[in-house]
Symmetry: C2
Subunit: 480 residues, 2 copies
């Protein structure tokens, strides 16, 4: 590596030295995002937005396959609507942005910028629903929401973020519960298959559930630094909102009933997860499914006759099947380009130079393992396809290994404190199920119960934290 | 037509009786949109949103083919930024919504909900641009914007609407101008090919141009009631904003320069245009390119053996190639369904009953001409494909005929007043080019200059309105 190239890579702080700085370096230097003049608000740059578009395309298809339709509800919500569901307003009022003036006039009632849309959507649903024949309502919207945050980090916690929010109504509790879990499973499947990000799925404790929910389900991923990321939630809202908003329909017996209700969402936070699960000290490592560029072609000695032509030919061969880019900039050396594309996390780099052409081959470099191999040009499409699949599987495998290595069983509170001190990660422990105990753990250590996983294990009979009888095995962690 | 079916259709006010009421009836009864509890804000329901998604998919592809990338800029803009370009703030300040509180705290500086994003984007561009090698910047965002409107109508003028806004930077004036016209042409091509909506393209007068623009170009469509709809605009912003925001780069000679700048946008307003150009007294008539359902299959005598099976079989045959729906609801008669789907503007209805099955045929009904023909089931795919194409061509042809019939040449102000009184439409007239004259015309008649069309005709030497020497031929109309 030449000195100049070395410096290029050294711009990223190693994650072992300072994980937060590593994250900041990566998102800025790879052009995913930028800070805006409005504190806590981010600009999602084209490279970051293309990742979001790939996530959207994948998930939107899954939503539609399961019968959901998109729509759009107003950005602004009257204060009186926000207040209709008591727990909900308590949870959200402290963090909403208030519009008080329209043009030069003060508004009679102030409007909040939506922090989430249960209230405005329920208000509309109460107008739309008449008969059991109208059910289920299976609607979703892609939009941005605003939650005033004191301390923000791009993708992980910002005062505005992009997301989707699904809102459904059903005849029975069972149908609502099935929908809640179906959507959680679509989230899990997206995380694992598209993002190569393993997740633990389970139920939130009463303390951690969504403001106004009957039950909240979550998927939790573990980051390189041993902190957890809540990566998506799905809520069974029971009849809390449908009662508060007086949504009724005449059921199969002609009686007036409140329907059952769910909501579920994932956000641009997923991009933060991808970065912190797969990234390394050279920068991003993007799973092929969401990489804006899956394959970059870098010509070597491109001034030599035939090299650029061949590089163009390869691009044309690959472009219908893969997201491929030819880097034919003439003001950067191949070495500089190699480093830049590695930093940007492009899964495969194809190097093609005069000697490769002579040998009817190209070098295929894989970002996940930083390895390269010669491939015959006759088999290029197959080789690329297979390698992308390999990379995806390998990323998921490595992320699972990483998570398992950082997952510990603890029997006592002291043991957990020690673990969190020296090797932070997921902690599995038995818990009594009581809120006071959970709050005590959080107050003393900053560690929270991430979820009561569906896959329960019996680790003992007493709560690791208070010694009372244990009710559940839970995952705990410090969290983003 | 049975009495019940007749009543069903009669719910829509005939457009000759009251065009505004016809429009309101159509958008409400076809479930495109609903009014929200926030005055002037609409809810776009699934049927309306699916049209927007089809428009988005088509245009987004065209934007990307021409090198543009999507990104996302903050929803909220500090007041100080909005004020940086003098004409711009004057144009927009009276109609923005102001956020004054975040959570429980009053903000030090109030923030407006973006009415358009030139200011925040230029602020970011000033950080991002360094060298001529970085140019052009070709970015776009899909989002919602808020403009406080006193008098609103869904899709046509609402306090919040969905749109795309492209913002580009270029080295030279010529490149910026070429970009401005390229995007206008993509808009025109989308209007004509996808929406079957003919448009006149040209330049806005100084009075009507965008606040802060060097020159604004527009496409103008004519509605059934003879009023014009500004359906998309593309602005050459010159160096107005890049100077105000001090965006500079070192050019090919190492000198510091301000780049040239464009912006361009279309919105959910296009849906209003589709409704008012193609709709009739039975309801919507949707162009096949954007119809959420292109083909609806209605089984006749579906209780008879084999009918539902055959209907399902036809749906399965068509579903990979077309957006097709099988209406197998058992609580509505075929006649009721025919009316409902006609009202919803579905381009093709396939009727299949026992006798059709015997004859190995189906009835194909086309919404645009309200005609039906028997088609052999052997040729169904080809027949549907051809008919959709026919419908699209026919809709464009009919819309052009309608527009031409309602386009008049006038030589004097009195002549225009008379035309606008008895047969409103587009008026072509010669104009002196002076703002005072234009303002006089508007003040006296409410008629505005829609554009100075690229296709000029010489209709005389003097201004039709003030008698001075004529500079341009212009299109005038009352407008939405």
């Amino acid at each position: 590596m030449s000195k100049k190239e070395k410096q290029f890579v050294e711009e990223i702080t190693p994650m072992e030295v300072d994980f937060a700085q590593w994250y900041t370096d990566v998102i800025k230097k790879t052009d995913l995002v930028d800070y805006s003049p409005v504190k806590g608000f981010m600009v999602i740059k084209p490279y970051g937005y293309a990742i979001w578009e790939n996530i959207q395309n994948y998930m939107d298809k899954r939503f539609k396959e399961t019968g959901h339709k998109n729509c759009y509800f107003p950005l602004l919500i009257p204060e009186s609507l926000l207040k209709k569901e008591a727990e909900h307003v308590e949870g959200f009022a402290p963090e909403v942005a208030w519009v008080t003036h329209g043009g030069n006039e003060e508004l009679a009632e102030r409007l909040c910028v939506r922090p989430t849309s249960e209230t405005i959507i329920c208000e509309m649903y109460s107008k739309w629903l008449t008969s059991y024949r109208d059910l289920p309502f299976l609607y979703n919207q892609w939009c941005s929401v605003v939650r005033w945050e004191k301390s923000t980090r791009p993708f992980l916690r910002t005062s505005e973020f992009l997301w989707q929010e699904g809102h459904t109504l059903h005849e029975t509790y069972e149908e609502a519960q099935a929908e809640t879990l179906q959507m959680l499973n679509i989230y899990r499947e997206t995380a694992e298959n598209l993002l190569a990000m393993p997740v633990v799925i389970g139920q939130k404790s009463e303390k951690e559930k969504f403001a106004g929910a009957y039950a909240t389900y979550t998927m939790e991923a573990l980051m390189h630094d041993g902190k957890a990321l809540q990566a998506g939630t799905s809520h069974n809202l029971g009849q809390h909102f449908t009662t508060a908003f007086d949504i009724t329909y005449s059921d199969r017996n002609g009686e007036l009933k409140h329907p059952y209700h769910t909501s579920w969402g994932v956000s641009t936070r997923l991009i933060g997860g991808i970065i912190m699960v797969h990234g390394d000290n050279r920068g991003l490592v993007l799973p092929p499914g969401i990489a804006p560029t899956q394959v970059v072609i870098v010509p070597v000695a491109s001034h030599k006759e035939g090299v650029l032509d061949k590089a163009n030919e390869l691009r044309d061969r690959l472009k219908d099947k893969f997201r491929v880019e030819l880097d034919d900039r003439d003001n950067y050396s191949p070495g500089w380009k190699f480093n830049e594309w590695e930093m940007k996390g492009v899964p495969i780099r194809i190097e093609i130079g005069p000697r490769d052409i002579e040998n009817n081959q190209a070098m295929l470099f894989r970002r996940d393992e930083l390895e390269k191999d010669a491939v015959s040009l006759d088999d290029l499409e197959e080789a690329v396809e297979k390698l992308l699949e390999d990379i995806n599987n390998n990323l998921l495998y490595k992320a699972k290994m990483m998570r398992d290595e950082k997952t510990y069983i603890v029997k006592t509170f002291d043991e957990m404190k020690e673990v969190m001190e020296i090797k932070p990660g997921f902690v599995k422990a038995m818990w009594c199920g009581e809120r006071a105990c959970e709050e005590h753990v959080k107050a003393e250590t900053g560690v929270t119960i991430r979820c009561i996983p569906f896959e329960q294990e019996n680790l003992g009979h007493t709560c690791a934290f208070c010694g009372k009888e244990a009710k559940h095995m839970v995952y705990l962690a410090k969290a983003y």
